[in-house]
Amino acid sequence: MILTRKATRSGLLLLAVGALVGLAPLVADARAPQRTSAISEVRPTLEPTYDHPEAERATLYVGKGQCEALVRDNPELRVVFETTTLNLRSDDFVGGVYRYDQERGASTQVNCDRSERCIRLSDERYEREERRITARIPFREFSGLNSAADCESEVDENRYVQVLVRTAAGGDWSVAEARVLIDLVRPEPPELLDAFATEYSVRVELEPSASDDARASFLVYSSSPIEADTLPTASGLTIRPLEMVGSDRGTASGLSLEGGAELYIGLAARDHAGNYSFVSEAQQVRVARTQTFWDLYREAGGAEEGGYGCQATGQGGAPSPLFFVVLLGLVAFFLRSAVGKPERAPAKVGRK
């Protein structure tokens, strides 16, 4: 059969569209957990909580701050998959629950129906209800971290729990996933280029952190020199978030610094798993003394000293008694007015 040009073009177009539609449930953000419309909600949790950064998009973060406690306590990772349409008790619709890991930055989509890297969870690791599947995996088994020494390793990977579902018996499997991002690598700190401090704020110019997972920058300061490889949470250091203007300027405000004091100022970054970098090389900065309008007024010889009173003001003086007498009189007047005139008794109407 000879295909016409028009038929060929139409056919190829239909094929491309069909491929895209068919792949749609599996195509997602390369680093984000995969989703399917058959599963309405995916919730990974660790009970009790370990001060994780807030979970988002079916992702839980584990950083160095939580690692030792998690390895020590070995809590259960619980992943709940919920649906409003399927009967998850039926094997017609559920193909199994799996886990697998992937290095951070990998973009390959994994479908455990076909991939050999997946490990199928045994039946005792998950419960099936009509509208819910709950997987429970001890943290050490899930993460591969078994001791405090493992928390000092350079692990930076994504680990997934995946469920295979389909909407019709015999149909294709689609997947829903939860992700646990285990990041035990500290980010690089930003480089401090310049700093200017007043009693109320510090403004910095910086070179951003070289780490692609750095999410926030912080100002770190101390009255003593800051040694290399010091964490910003160390004793004697004060850490404040930087409000960034662009990528290379930031301000930490709401401070209470002493004008004229010498400070040592550095920067730190924090990544999406809550890991702080070490403090950058610090600079010594003198806090500039500043002037307010009040300082200018007093230096110019202004007679006002503050305080409350009807005539000459005194420092910290209380309002004069006359002020209260007038105020009470006004209150009496306006209360009287607001209450209104008194009601008159209705006139009696007698019978004729």
């Binding site: 309008f293 007093r298 009807c310 006359l322 007038v326 006004l330």
Partner: protein
């Protein structure tokens, strides 16, 4: 021995108390009870008058005046040819300037110093609305005069009250007086149907748009200290109930 100021203050206090307790005697024939006013206008306190002109206010804030808003509530004392009322006002104004170093360099960025005032006033108000009520003439002249007490405060970028090196705190109050003349435009004549609905639903019998000019002397009656006086205009809306 009592000074003239003390005698005047005591008299005013007595008058207020008397009026407050016997207000109903004046109100029996009233068809309206009082007035609410909302107004806005610039306010540039005469802080630099203490220094002969170019002083710390101009140096720090430049020629920026405060945008001052004020609410006034009056109750009618007498209604005949016009209305005589006693009013109380409360307002708010603020101006901000950037922090500067000791060398006078203005610091760019978000750090600002605020200078705030809260004017408290009481006024005798006379409205000549006889023409508006009787003959539909939409213009109503108004005059006011009374006593003021203005609260003021200078705050640092962290929201705290500023303090000078000698420990003087930048917060206090200053007393004074004011006199105002204004012209109100009676809006009921423009849309009588809406005015009737307003009266029926909200009890607002008359609505005005107005402009007024105020002379205020807030200098502690000539005593030493910060001068918050200003001659300023304002515009606003008034609702008679």
């Amino acid at each position: 021995m009592m000074t003239l100021k003390t005698k005047a203050s005591l008299f005013l206090c007595f008058a207020l108390l008397t009026l407050g307790l016997s207000q109903s005697a004046f109100a029996e024939q009233d068809r309206t009870r009082g007035m609410m006013e909302f107004k806005l206008g610039p306010y540039l306190p005469a802080v630099d008058s203490e220094f002969g002109g170019d002083g710390p206010y101009a140096q720090f804030f430049g020629d920026r005046s405060m945008l001052s808003g004020e609410f006034q509530l009056d109750f009618h004392l007498w209604q005949g040819i016009g209305k005589l009322s006693l009013g109380t006002h409360v307002g708010y104004g603020r101006v901000q300037g950037r922090l500067r170093t000791e060398d006078g360099e203005v610091l760019e960025g978000a750090e600002r110093v605020s200078f705030r005032t809260i004017p408290l006033r009481t006024s005798l108000v006379y409205r000549f609305d006889y023409g508006a009520m009787r003959y539909g003439i939409p213009l109503v002249p108004v005059v006011k005069a009374g006593l003021d007490y203005h609260l003021w405060r200078v705050s640092t970028p962290d929201g705290e009250t500023a303090e000078s090196g000698d420990g003087a705190r930048a917060a206090g109050g200053r007393a004074g007086w004011h006199a105002t003349a204004g012209l109100h435009l009676h809006l009921n004549v423009i849309d009588r149907r809406s005015a009737a609905a307003f009266a029926h639903n909200w009890g607002i019998k008359n609505t005005y748009f107005f402009g007024e000019y105020t002379l205020s002397r807030i200098d502690g009656f000539g005593s030493a200290g910060i001068d918050l006086s200003d001659n300023h205009w304002a515009v606003g809306l008034a609702f008679e109930f």
